[in-house]
Structure formats: structure tokens, C-alpha cells
């Protein structure tokens, strides 16, 4: 039964996306409910898959019944079942949210094509996570990237340019990944990840494998937006429509990070990735620079979305640090941070989209009295901001805690310092916004009434936006409190046993 669920995760949104234009041609209004309804399926299926993995261990689904390593296989273990749930959940939330924001930001005739691409993007992301085949992963990577390019290009002024740059760099990244697959294929004659993992150890000293590994890493670093190959990221994420940024900012980089973990610790054994190549220390240092650079660039922004985008750059660094220290604690932190950061980033981008929807501005200095205008949205923002700063019991604290334990175990003091600095930079960034929203006095004209209470009309975002935002904000706290359970029931099995 569970095997069929695994197939449904991909098949349902893929086929449904083809139906969206038809539905849109017939009744434009039905696109939105259709997409939301469709996206419930992957969420339920991935929860079922996660449940199966937790009770009976890893399993696989053979596409078309062909036995691996010849056929394509969906191999599901704790790691990707976990990431699947995250991807499915966040895309559902963003889909629910998208209604009003899409209506406002896009032309009416584009709505059907928007939702088609939306579903394709989700399909691509889910596919990258679920597949157990290195080449199939490339295909899904390109499905998600292509729909992502197009989605970005329909954004605001400057979006087509940003999308074009992203196409160029994204294609380089994907091609490098493909080259890596090619080199591995030359040496092993296999594309199946599990098969590769069993063949590769005998070939670890082959130059071909080394080159393949290098291509893999560079390709994924580009796709994941790790400093200094992040240059495509800020412009494209920032100019995309709100709903699109809210989908890709939390998920694209996280899925790339997942693929990185998958390749380095499953396809290649940790002893290869860690001991035989200096790649971990290089990645670790790049991550440190990413954190510092992202933080400093974020400080310089007045546009809140642009600020968040640079924070995404920094957050990629977090995950990569956890991967690069290559010990149990660090990797636990990295996997936990994939989840936490996805939730936090989704919440922040959703909030920014809602603010933009209501006030038409993204300039931080114009946020005055948003706390009165949009109290729930701002409450959600504040909770998430505190989580980004790393205040317990919000979830951001716990992933940071494990990451720091990992760096301590590895003796990487500079990495630890970067993580701590980043908390402080985040504090400055977010308290600046909070101060503007909560504390900035009104203009003198209508400043005070008798009780010293400002009169600002409440003007909250529509419910379709508010509900996902609030769910995310609650999750930020709940995931923090239950992070222990998540680690003990899922993540500890996702970390390679040799650690």
C-alpha cells in the first residue's frame, strides 16, 4: 500500500497540473480550489509514507515494475520521507495563501498558467526528494527549475532580467550535476543511488570518481545558492510574485541541501566525502562566509523582502555548516534546520506578502503601526523573528543548538562563532523591523486621542492569507517544543549510522 502512496505523491500533482489549463479555460475560478485539493494528496501520501518508514523501515517503489538498477526506483527512507512531508506541507500552505495575492499581483488570464507552473514546481521538488535514481533526479531538478524560471519571470519590474540570469546560472548548475552523473556512469555503469553506493567504495581512488564528485558538488552549490555562487538568488527571489517567493525561498535551497546530504552521505560514504576529499572544510568555510556576507548584505537593505532574501543566503550557510562538520550532532542540526528554516522562511515570506497585499509597500520604514493594523500578521512575524534570532522555545533555537554542538565536537571554533554572530545580526535585522512596526510614532496630525491610544483602523489580511500565516507561526513554536520527539523518532535514523 505504502509503495503506491509513494507513486501518488508524484503522479497526482503532475497529472493535475496538466488539467489546470483545461479547468482554467472552462472556469477560471476553479483553478484555485483544484490546486489546493490536489496538493492535499501529496501531503496525506507523504504522511502515510513517513508513517510506514517509521514503523517498518525503508522501502522502495519500482516505477513500471522494472527492477533496479535498470528501472527507476523511488527509494524512501527516514531522511527523504521527512523532507517530503515538509515540501508537501509548505506547498499546500502556500497554495492556500496564494488566492488573493495572485489575484492582485497577476493579470487575470495568467492565473491558469500560474497554477499549472505552481503544481509542476511542486512536482519537481517532490520528485527530487523521492527519487532513488541519479538521472531521474536531474529530470526533476529541471522540471522544478524550468517552472521556477517561468514563475519568477511573471513577477514585477526587473523580474524577466533576474529570471534570465537565473536560467543561465541554473542551467550551468544543472549541467554540472549531469556531468557528475556522467562520470559516475562511466566508472560504474549504474544510475541507481543504492547501486552506486554499493559499487563506488571499490573505486574511491579513481580519478573519474573524484571529478564526478567535484562536478556534483559545484552543481549543487549553485542550485543551493551557497556563497559565492548565490548571485542569481537575491534578484530572482526578490522580484518574483509574493506567492512564488514564499514557495521557492523556503523550499528550493532546502531541497538542494537535501540532495547534497543524500549524495555525500548515501551515494558516497561519509569516509569518502569527509576523509578523502577536502571538500568538507571548503564547504564549511564557504558557509561561514555565506552567513557573514548574507547577514551584512541583509543589514544594508531597506526593502524587507530583499532583506529576507539575503537571510536565505545566510541560512543556506547554516545547513552547510551542519553538513560540513560531518558528525552526528551537526548533521542532526542540519536536517532539523531544513525543517525549521523552511517553516520560518515560509512564514516570513507569507507575512511580507500579506503586508504588501494590504499596504502596497515593502519598505521597512513605512511599517509604522502595522501592529495595530494587522495584529495577527505582525504577531506571527514577531514569533518567527524571535525564532530566527534563536530565542527558545521557538524552533530556531534548537537547530542552532545542535549545529553549535556539532561545530564544538568538530573543533571548528570559527564556524561556531559565525553561527553565534549570525544570531546577533538577525537580532539587529528583526528588531529593526519590529521597532518600526510597533513603536514608530504617528504623524502629529492624528497622533493621540484622550487616552494616549493611537487610533488605527484594524485592516487585517484576508483569511486565506491569515490562516496559513498563523499555522506557520504556531508551528514555529510547536516544532521547537517537540524537536526532541522529531529527532528521536525520525532524524536520528536519517543520520548515517557510521556517525
Amino acid at each position: 500500500m505504502a509503495e503506491q502512496l509513494a507513486a501518488l505523491i508524484i503522479v497526482v500533482p503532475l497529472l493535475a497540473s496538466l488539467l489546470v489549463p483545461v479547468i482554467g479555460w472552462w472556469q477560471k475560478k476553479l483553478c484555485y480550489p483544484w490546486v489546493v485539493a490536489v496538493l492535499v494528496v501529496p501531503l496525506i501520501c507523504s504522511l502515510g509514507v513517513l508513517n510506514t518508514v517509521m514503523t517498518t523501515g525503508k522501502f522502495s517503489y519500482r516505477l513500471g515494475g522494472w527492477a533496479p538498477p535498470w528501472g527507476i526506483e523511488y527509494a524512501i527512507d527516514h531522511l527523504n520521507a521527512f523532507v517530503l512531508v515538509i515540501v508537501a506541507f509548505i506547498s499546500l500552505m502556500v497554495a492556500i495563501y496564494s488566492k488573493k495575492s495572485v489575484e492582485k499581483e497577476l493579470k487575470k488570464e495568467k492565473i491558469a498558467s500560474f497554477y499549472t507552473l505552481f503544481l509542476l514546481l511542486v512536482t519537481g521538488l517532490l520528485g527530487m526528494v523521492i527519487t532513488g535514481d541519479a538521472f531521474n533526479l536531474f529530470v526533476f531538478l529541471e522540471i522544478s527549475s524550468l517552472s521556477c524560471y517561468a514563475l519568477i519571470a511573471i513577477g514585477e519590474e526587473g523580474a524577466p532580467m533576474a529570471a534570465f540570469n537565473y536560467i543561465i546560472i541554473g542551467t550551468i548548475g544543472a549541467c554540472f550535476y549531469l556531468l557528475g552523473v556522467g562520470y559516475l556512469y562511466i566508472a560504474t555503469g549504474s544510475l541507481n543511488m543504492a547501486d552506486l553506493a554499493s559499487i563506488l567504495p571499490a573505486l574511491y581512488h579513481s580519478k573519474v570518481i573524484l571529478v564526478g564528485f567535484a562536478f556534483f558538488t559545484v552543481g549543487l552549490v549553485i542550485k543551493g545558492g551557497l556563497f559565492p555562487l548565490h548571485t542569481w538568488l537575491p534578484d530572482s527571489y526578490c522580484t518574483a510574485p509574493s506567492a512564488v517567493s514564499a514557495l521557492i525561498a523556503p523550499l528550493m535551497t532546502k531541497v538542494a541541501a537535501y540532495v547534497m546530504i543524500r549524495l555525500m552521505f548515501t551515494v558516497f560514504q561519509p569516509q569518502f566525502s569527509v576523509d578523502m576529499m577536502p571538500v568538507m572544510s571548503i564547504l564549511g568555510w564557504l558557509a561561514v562566509f555565506a552567513i557573514i556576507f548574507g547577514g551584512i548584505k541583509a543589514l544594508a537593505q531597506t526593502d524587507i523582502k530583499r532583506m529576507l532574501v539575503y537571510i536565505v543566503v545566510a541560512e543556506v550557510g547554516y545547513i552547510v555548516i551542519g553538513v560540513s562538520v560531518a558528525n552526528r550532532m551537526g548533521l542532526t542540526g542540519a536536517i532539523l534546520h531544513i525543517m525549521n528554516d523552511a517553516v520560518m522562511m515560509a512564514c516570513l515570506f507569507l507575512v511580507v506578502g500579506a503586508i504588501f497585499y494590504k499596504t502596497g509597500t515593502r519598505d521597512i520604514s513605512e511599517f509604522r503601526h502595522l501592529n495595530k493594523k494587522m495584529p495577527f500578521t505582525m504577531a506571527a512575524f514577531t514569533i518567527t523573528a524571535l525564532s530566527m534570532v534563536g530565542i527558545p522555545p521557538a524552533c530556531g533555537f534548537f537547530s542552532k543548538w545542535y549545529l553549535i554542538l556539532g561545530t564544538i565536537e568538530a573543533g571548528q571554533w570559527v564556524h561556531a562563532a559565525a553561527l553565534l554572530c549570525s544570531s546577533l545580526i538577525n537580532a539587529v535585522l528583526f528588531f529593526r523591523v519590529i521597532e518600526c512596526a510597533y513603536l514608530k510614532p504617528m504623524e502629529p496630525a492624528n497622533a493621540h486621542d484622550a487616552g494616549g491610544i493611537h487610533i488605527v483602523q484594524r485592516d487585517e489580511a484576508p483569511l486565506t492569507m491569515l490562516i496559513p500565516i498563523i499555522i506557520m507561526a504556531i508551528l514555529v513554536i510547536v516544532l521547537g517544543i517537540f524537536s526532541g520527539n522529531i529527532i528521536s523518532s525520525i532524524i536520528q535514523f536519517a543520520v548515517p549510522a557510521s556517525f
Partner: protein
């Protein structure tokens, strides 16, 4: 040691957290209902805490595990004698502060009262959480929550100075939080546990250089909140907050949490033996002595009453830490009991300053000539607390000073005896002129010649805290057994060490 498993510690924390959200839900429109949540929560919390005292006095430990994150990493409450002491101080003074706050904000018609009471309740929840933490991680969680909960209080007036003060406060405390997080990680890596243990648990787990570094980091992290120089700068700046907040900051929650943390580090993580072996206790003692003296001197120069009291707080906190770091039985007793005593005296002083501000809008020492005739109860309470702070019997301040001095002698460090004496002299020098001026100098023109006190909601709490300072001077073990708890805590530490 007997362990009792009970969820009461959790409820003690949760009560004010639930109250906080009820306050938020009630909102500005139903003021009386909103305020009644505060009062109810304050009493309920106090009774929950007090109900656990007998168990603690029997030598038992109350434990409750909230969440297990990882083997050895848990959110856990464990109440020992020392935690109980702090919990009692905080929960009992919250009652006084609640009444006083209501009087204060209503008298001044403050804005954003809902936010104010919400943050207040959250502060108390975190403080009790800190008091009852079983391990460093739990401590850290609540410590960070406290930092955040205090921020809206510091910036309450939303004036530019307040916002600057808030920024400074965050800059200091969040940096400290980061350092603590790192140090906690280190300790967990080195020992595999974070549980506080009377007499310390870290000995032998690392080279002395690493241990010294960790000690410095932890003391830095907690010392920021405790206002140990040179990390004290935020404290006088944060005086822009409303007076009940300053009172809470100074006497109950924030700085006491810092001192509590320092004492936990000194006595429950490192332990007297290890600190003796490492030899850093003496250096630390000198640093803290410097703070004691300099803060006293700086207080002399302040005309703003609340700033003067702020420096006096820095002075007293340093004294508590000095008592602990001297590592003798008497000095520890003195330090711990002074936490309680100072709390009662300092909150009285701040309440008085707030009453003056609310009633006659006077904030400066130089404006207080003759004010005692108009507000005799307020200034009377001020006098009692000031006398106590200077360590004159029969006030409670005398008891703590006595033990502290005894401790300096036991440690064979006569120089610290002089530090304590000098500090007492300075206390007299910067507090007594206020008493003299307010009662015996010719009244200023704007002083009403007749009895015209601040609202009763303010005067009664401050009279009670003043009275309690006196009672605890005569019978230090009265009501809630502060003294027995202290001696028990010290015995636990020395018994192991």
C-alpha cells in the same frame, strides 16, 4: 537525596504564562478583569511556590521532566533549596509589584497597558522557570525568554531614549546569550550532562585552561544581567522604563536572574573546590570588589534618583557575587540571604521613587527637600529600606552584611572585609542625605504642607515591603523560611565540596 516527582513546578511557571495570554485576550476595554488576572495569577503562583516549601525543608528535591530532547538534554525542573529561595523571592514580590503597578499605570494613565501587563506576567513566568531549572539548558531557555519579555517593558514609553535603552539592553543581553549558548554547548560536549549539582560537576573534564575560559564565558554571560562591571552599562540606561519595571528589573527578575546564574555557575557547575584549585576565585573576587566600590562611588554622583538606585543595585549585586566567590560557608550564606534581603529593600526604594514620580513628578534627588512632610509614609518606608541597605541592625541588611564580613574573615582575606565596610559607608553616603533632606530641610515651594500621599495602591505595597525588610531583620526565618533554605543550600554545597 529524596526526589519527589510533581508537576507543581510546571504549574508555577504556567500560571503566569496563562495569565499573560488571558490579559492579552481581555484587552484594554475590560481593565478591571484584565488586572484581576494579574492579581489572581500572582496569588496562585505564590501559593503554589509556598506549598512546596515544606517538602524542600525536609531535604527533598522536587523534580518534573518536561521534554527530553536528546539523552542528557532535557527541559527539566528541579527545585532545590537555592532555587526555592529565588522562586520565593520572585513570586512573593510579584504580588506587591502587581498591586503597585496597577496603581502606578492608572495614576499616570500610561499607554499600552495591556502590553505592559502581558510582558510583566511573561517576565515572572520566565523568572520562576529560571529559579526551578534543573540544568543549564533549561536555565538558558528561560533566561532568553526573560530577555525578550523584558524588552517591551524597557521600551514602554516609546520615547527615543527608551528605544535606545531597549537597543542597548538587547545588544548586551543577546550577546551574552550567544556566549552562554556556546559555553553550554561546550559543557555538554565535555561532560555529557548539564544538570546543576551542588558542589559542581565539571571538575576533571577538561584542561584548566579550557575550564578557566568556560568560567569566564559563563560569568560574562550571566554577569551582563547582574551588572558586573564593565558589563553594567545597560542598567542605568534602562532606567527610562516606568518605575515598577525598574523595581521588577532590579529587585525581582532580571538582575537577580543574572546573579542567580552567577551563583549557579560558581557553586553548582564549578563548585568551590575546583575554583580553589584553578585559583581564579581570587581574581574574580578582585574584579567584583572593584565593581562594588566603583558603583558605590558612581551612585554618589547621580542626581537622578532612579539612576542613583541603579548604581546601588550594581553595588549590591556585586556584593552578592563577591560573597559567593569567597567560597566560604558564611560568605555563601551571606550572599544567598542577601539576594532575598536586597530584593525586599531595593523594591521598596524603587516603589518610593515611583510614588514620588507619580504623585509629585519629582525624579531628582535635589528636588526632594521637605517632601517627607507631604508624603511621610513613602519617605518613611524609604528611610527604613535605606537604613537596611546600609547594614544597620535590626534591619535585614545587617544579617547579610554580618555573614558576608564573617565570610571574608573565614577566607583570610581581610581586604574584602574592607570592601564590605567601604560599601556600607558609601551606602550611607548616598542614601542618608535623601532621608535628611526630605524630612529635615526646609520644604521647597511646590511641596504641599499637609499630608498628601500617592494612591493607596502604591503606598500599601511599599509599606508592606518595607515592613517585611524589618521583620526579616528581626526574624530571618519568618513566614517562608528564607534563612533555613539558605543554610540548607550552603550545607548541600559544602557537604559535597
Amino acid at each position: 537525596m529524596d526526589v519527589v516527582y510533581s508537576s507543581r513546578p510546571l504549574w508555577a511557571v504556567l500560571v503566569s504564562m496563562i495569565a499573560a495570554f488571558l490579559i492579552l485576550a481581555t484587552g484594554e476595554k475590560n481593565r478591571n478583569i484584565r488586572e484581576s488576572w494579574t492579581i489572581i495569577a500572582a496569588f496562585v503562583k505564590f501559593f503554589i511556590v509556598v506549598s512546596m516549601v515544606p517538602l524542600i525543608l525536609q531535604g527533598k528535591v522536587i523534580e518534573y521532566t518536561l521534554i527530553t530532547f536528546y539523552p542528557g538534554l532535557l527541559l527539566q525542573f528541579r527545585i532545590d533549596a537555592f532555587g526555592m529561595l529565588f522562586g520565593l523571592i520572585a513570586s512573593s514580590l510579584w504580588i506587591a509589584t502587581s498591586f503597585y503597578s496597577i496603581g502606578y499605570v492608572r495614576k499616570l494613565n500610561e499607554h499600552a497597558q495591556t502590553r505592559y501587563f502581558f510582558a510583566f506576567a511573561m517576565c515572572l513566568a520566565s523568572t520562576i522557570g529560571i529559579a526551578f531549572s534543573a540544568n543549564l539548558l533549561t536555565f538558558l531557555v528561560f533566561y532568553e525568554m526573560l530577555t525578550l519579555a523584558t524588552y517591551p517593558l524597557v521600551i514602554h514609553t516609546e520615547s527615543p531614549e527608551a528605544i535606545m535603552g531597549g537597543r542597548k539592553y538587547l545588544a548586551y543581553t543577546l550577546t551574552a546569550g550567544c556566549v552562554l549558548l556556546f559555553a553550554t554547548g561546550m559543557i555538554f560536549y565535555m561532560t555529557g550532562t548539564l544538570d546543576f549539582k551542588a558542589g559542581g560537576f565539571i571538575a576533571g573534564s577538561g584542561s584548566s585552561a579550557v575550564l578557566i575560559m568556560l568560567f569566564a564565558m559563563l560569568i560574562f554571560g550571566f554577569g551582563v544581567k547582574a551588572g558586573i562591571m564593565p558589563m553594567h552599562e545597560w542598567l542605568p540606561t534602562a532606567m527610562v522604563a516606568p518605575t515598577p519595571v525598574s523595581a521588577l528589573l532590579h529587585a525581582v527578575a532580571v538582575v537577580k536572574a543574572g546573579v542567580f546564574g552567577c551563583l549557579r555557575v560558581i557553586l553548582y557547575i564549578f563548585g568551590p573546590n575546583l575554583l580553589h584549585d584553578l585559583g581564579i576565585w581570587l581574581i574574580m573576587a578582585y574584579i567584583v570588589s572593584f565593581t562594588v566600590i566603583v558603583a558605590g562611588l558612581l551612585a554618589l554622583g547621580q542626581d537622578h534618583l532612579k539612576r542613583r538606585l541603579a548604581f546601588s543595585t550594581i553595588n549590591n549585586l556585586a556584593m552578592i557575587v563577591l560573597g559567593a566567590i569567597l567560597l566560604t560557608k558564611s560568605s555563601m550564606t551571606g550572599a544567598m540571604i542577601h539576594m532575598a534581603n536586597h530584593a525586599f529593600m531595593k523594591i521598596t526604594l524603587f516603589f518610593c521613587a515611583g510614588a514620588l514620580h507619580a504623585k509629585v513628578h519629582k525624579d531628582y534627588v535635589s528636588q526632594l527637600d521637605g517632601i517627607g512632610r507631604q508624603m511621610p509614609m513613602t519617605m518613611g518606608a524609604f528611610a527604613i529600606a535605606a537604613i537596611g541597605l546600609s547594614g544597620i541592625p535590626p534591619m535585614n541588611g545587617f544579617i547579610s552584611k554580618w555573614f558576608l564580613c564573617l565570610g571574608a574573615l573565614e577566607a583570610n582575606q581581610i581586604i574584602f572585609l574592607f570592601v564590605f565596610f567601604t560599601s556600607a559607608m558609601l551606602d550611607v553616603a548616598f542614601l542618608f542625605p535623601i532621608i535628611y533632606n526630605s524630612f529635615f530641610k526646609k520644604p521647597l515651594d511646590d511641596v504641599a504642607p499637609h499630608f498628601d500621599e500617592a494612591p493607596m495602591l502604591m503606598v500599601i505595597p511599599l509599606s508592606i515591603t518595607a515592613l517585611l525588610s524589618l521583620v526579616f531583620g528581626i526574624a530571618p526565618d519568618a513566614f517562608v523560611h528564607f534563612f533555613s533554605l539558605t543554610t540548607m543550600a550552603v550545607q548541600n554545597i559544602m557537604g559535597v565540596g
